[in-house]
């Protein structure tokens, strides 16, 4: 009983957490952004202070500057 019970418990914990995560993730993605913030996100305009050189947007921005 012990071994099987533990395995079932472990699986159920992981599945519950995963369900919580997936539901909150989907809800977050589906909630419309509040007014005035629709365009927040990744893009040349919003990434001006970013210094990650591997990023595609950084490369594009600096190509334009050159």
């Amino acid at each position: 009983m012990d071994q099987v019970g533990y395995i079932i418990l472990a699986i159920s914990i992981v599945v519950i957490l995963l369900a919580v995560f997936v539901i909150s993730f989907v809800l977050y993605m589906r909630t419309p952004a509040p007014k005035g913030c629709e365009k927040l996100g990744i893009g040349p305009k919003n990434c001006e202070d970013c210094n990650v050189e591997g990023c595609m947007i950084y490369k594009q921005r600096h190509k334009k500057e050159e």
């Binding site: 995963l18 995560f21 997936v22 993730f25 989907v26 993605m29 990650v52 050189e53 591997g54």
Partner: protein
Amino acid sequence: MDNIKRGQHKASFLNGILKENPLLIQVLGLCPALAVTKSLETAFGMGLLFTFVLVSSNVIVSLLRKLIPEEIRTPCYIVVIATFVTIVKMFAEAFLPELYSSLGVFLSLLVVNCIVLGRAEAFAGQNGVFDSFLDGVGNGIGYTWAISLMGIIREVFGLGTLTIGKVFNFFGEPIKLPILKFVEVTFDAATETYERTVHYDFSISIFQNPAGAFIVLGLMLAIMAAITNHKKAVEKAKEKEAKLAAAAAKAAEQAKLAGGAN
């Protein structure tokens, strides 16, 4: 057709090693690169475990890419990666206890490693299994050689010696190479004391400190950037030359034509 495919396989394998090296060119995965590079062996071990996680998560993500709904992609990737990290943790705890204790929490932090998640999102989620496998191996090798190099630099300059066989201790006694520091310990049987004779010692202890990690990585990235800049400049000059030559040839041809017409 076959040639094109082979070229693609080759590209997905080779890109990660040098041209798009995850650490030195894309500047990803800095946390483990700074934290576990105190010695060559921990760095190399981290690289190996990282490669295993990357390759297996790439393969599984690529196999599942048509089953996973678009909307919940990221959660699925995180679960796949976390599973393999747990496997690697248990493996290391059982078979490489020395490595496990020296890597500490950074083994668990592979879950949030930007490279693993980034490769899953950018490559394995869109490409076939074999390509994803090669991509994982290439990126793993690229990351491993980069952090191993850092480990060598930090260990040689910081401790003055290079120890081999302490973490991977399947081959008997570890070997300690005296490169910048040579201390001889002799046992005096008559007085029962150890005697230390320092033959030479040029080690700089800052390389073992956190500050040294930042400096070494910063300089390596700068050297890499300098090389890329130089390559770009050479290419540009070549292009310019070719353009000039083409223009000159054209002009000469036109002159010839004009001459012929006359």
